[in-house]
């Protein structure tokens, strides 16, 4: 029998018992659509987060601190929870205890192969931003970036800042509305006032407030980071020095605690990170962060798709049941087929293909339904809470998901068919022909 004959026979037999076949297929459809819809949502959201992180932390940058733990605070500690860790005495109690890197450290890092340059990682706090001459103040998150990182942000108007930029900034798209600009172009050339209050103020010590003036030279595309204002490293240093009331900050006397090393190719990032760790320092790449996100999403998706898998498992019982019923109904037919030359393996394959066809049809219909639901979710989200992210889809169907879910349902149904198929193939032809 050729494969075509097996398929013809399988679909003919499924068509003979339309209602029963449809119900069995429906069970597979439910499982397949659950698995694929949940996975597609997971892929969409993960892709969105990944893109955002990629924009904030380029793949060719290695972050360096005196210890690995500095990075764990932000990325693994709070996300994983768990019981409090025991600490050794020399480790100290506070993980926020940032020890500065030395000038020697920086020279060592810059001497590594593939490292092009290093820049301090500057954490900035500003109290507010307002248009020069206007009253309304807005919240802001300042990013002090080397030009090569600032250039990774997509602009809708203007130009990027350079490493030599002084008093120039790029604003997040969200500010257009806050400042009342109709067009992104309207913002260009406008002056901003960023107000910074010294850190001492937090402890009630006498502190100063200072205004820093910037000119808007560019407007960024929409991202999750809707309050970001990007300035050059030099401007960042100046603000940070005022904020900390420490004029020597970010000089060789008082070096930064976190450096960002630029690598001349993202494929070397992991290697450079390893070499930096070999120097006794802590290093982190964007892949490390994405790895953590990937792990978390992997767990979420595994849990979610487990529901779909359970549904598929239940559906496989339906497949077994349907095929065993079919054997009873078609006992004489099986006898005739054997009498005219069907071997055991032919009969076995006949029923296996019939079961797999149920899974295949269920898989196709299930994925199609999930795709339709996903598109509906995307559509609804774009007119509601995701209005500002036209290119982002919550539900994403890469080809491998479509193929994978159809293959999975087919294989599960095929496995379910093995036992009934084995039973059918072992029927004795004489007894089968006598069967009433």
């Amino acid at each position: 029998m050729s494969l075509l004959d097996f398929l013809r026979s399988a679909f003919f037999n499924l068509g003979r018992r339309k209602l029963r076949s449809s119900l069995t297929i429906l069970a597979v459809v439910i499982g397949a659509s659950l698995v694929s819809l949940l996975l597609s949502l997971g892929i969409g959201v993960e892709g969105f987060l990944t893109a955002q992180i990629r924009a904030m932390m380029p793949p060719n940058v290695v972050m360096v601190a005196y210890s690995e733990q500095v990075f764990e605070i932000g990325f693994t500690g709070p996300m994983f929870g768990g019981k409090p860790e025991e600490i050794s005495e020399d480790e100290g109690g506070s993980r926020f205890d940032l020890k500065p890197l030395t000038a020697q450290n920086r020279e060592d890092i810059e001497a590594l192969e593939h490292v092009e340059r290093t820049d301090p990682y500057i954490l900035l706090t500003a109290d507010s931003v307002r248009l020069q001459g206007a009253e309304a103040k807005f919240r802001t998150a300042l990013s002090s970036l080397p030009a090569y990182q600032a250039e990774m942000r997509q602009l809708v108007a203007g130009r990027h800042i350079t490493d030599q930029s002084l008093g120039e900034c790029i604003i997040a798209n969200g500010y257009l509305e806050s400042f009342g600009f109709q067009q992104p172009q309207d913002a260009l050339g406008q002056k901003l006032v960023i107000q910074v209050k010294q850190a001492k103020g937090i402890f009630g010590l006498p502190s100063e407030i200072k205004d820093f003036n910037f000119e808007i030279v560019g407007v960024a595309e929409k991202t999750v980071n809707s309050t970001e204002i990007m300035i050059s490293i030099e401007d960042g240093k100046e603000i940070a020095r005022f904020w900390a009331d420490s004029p020597n900050m970010y000089s060789d006397e008082l070096p930064p605690s976190i450096l960002q090393a630029k690598v001349d190719g993202s494929q070397y990032a992991a290697q450079v990170a390893q070499e930096i760790e070999d120097l006794g320092l802590g290093a982190m790449t964007s892949d490390d962060v994405l790895g953590v996100i990937g792990t978390i999403f992997g767990i979420i998706q595994a849990v979610l798709s487990a529901f779909g898998l359970i549904a598929l498992g239940v559906a496989s019982l339906g497949v077994i049941n349907t095929l065993i019923m079919a054997i009873y109904e078609r006992t004489r037919e099986i006898g005739v087929m054997k009498a005219v030359g069907a071997s055991k393996s032919t009969i076995r394959l006949l029923f296996t293909v019939e079961g797999a066809s149920i899974g295949f049809l269920g898989g196709i219909i299930g994925v199609a339904i999930a795709y339709a639901l996903g598109s509906a979710i995307n559509w609804v989200s774009h007119i509601t809470f995701l209005k500002d992210f036209e290119t982002f889809k919550i539900s994403v169907f890469p080809w491998w998901l479509i193929v994978g879910v159809i293959a999975l349902s087919t294989i599960i149904a095929l496995l379910a068919a093995l036992y009934p198929a084995h039973r059918a193939s072992n029927l004795d032809p004489i007894e089968a022909l006598r069967y009433e």
Binding site: D5, G335, V340, G341, S343, K344, S345, L433
Partner: protein
């Protein structure tokens, strides 16, 4: 062509053992027409099923065309049933959901003949049994005689050397029976096909070259008509 050496077929029913066949020795040569007669339960069908490769002896040896069926694997046996022998049953055993043409071409499916060729061959064979106008009919739309012709066409479609018929006219009226018998004997006479026919009817049995009498699972006697 067909050789049975000391063939036994036992059925165990609790403590009892039924000898459906006991110590059968039989030789049938190529092109021969043998009829098997005997009372109900004497083992005629059992013997035919063993020759047809549908059943195996409990002990003993059966050889067809030099092939030892008692040692054959499932693959070899199914290929034997497919190509070497054709079986015609008393109850026709047609697939009720398929057309006459599809029924006739079923053995060709397992012989891996492509669809187009299958239909062509099956149509040809249906013509020789006088069913050219009944290709699309399902068994329920056919008369008893026509159904048996479909069954015969199916048995012939792979051009077997041996045709086994187990009371092929048992369910038919006498006129139709005669037509079917005429068809079977002509296949034997004109095509030289080896024909083994089980029947209750002595008159029918007498058409054969040799008549074998069975009783209680044993061959009680044989009459040569040549």
């Amino acid at each position: 062509m067909i050789e049975l050496h000391n063939v036994w077929r036992l059925y165990r029913m609790g403590r009892e053992t039924i000898n459906a066949l006991a110590s059968i020795n039989l030789e049938i040569s190529e092109g021969e027409f043998v009829s098997i007669v005997g009372p109900s339960g004497s083992g005629k069908s059992t013997l035919l099923n063993i020759i047809g490769g549908l059943d195996s002896p409990t002990t003993g040896r059966i050889e067809v065309d030099g092939q030892d069926l008692s040692k054959a694997s499932d693959k070899e046996l199914s290929s034997y049933r497919n190509k070497k022998v054709g079986v015609v049953f008393q109850t026709f055993n047609l697939q009720s959901t398929h057309s006459a043409l599809e029924n006739v071409s079923l053995p060709l499916v397992f012989a891996r003949v492509p669809l187009r060729k299958r239909n062509q061959i099956a149509e040809e064979v249906m013509k020789t049994v006088g069913l050219s106008g009944r290709l699309k009919h399902t068994p329920s739309q056919l008369s008893g005689g026509e159904r048996q012709r479909v069954a015969i066409a199916r048995a012939l479609v792979n051009n077997p050397k041996i045709l086994l018929a187990d009371e092929p006219t048992g369910n038919l009226d006498s006129k139709t029976s005669e037509q079917i018998m005429g068809l079977l004997t002509s296949l034997n006479k004109e095509r030289g096909i080896t024909l083994v026919l089980v029947t209750h009817d002595l008159k029918t049995a007498e058409h054969a070259d040799r008549m074998i009498q069975m009783f209680d699972g044993q061959i009680a006697g044989a009459a040569d008509r040549k």
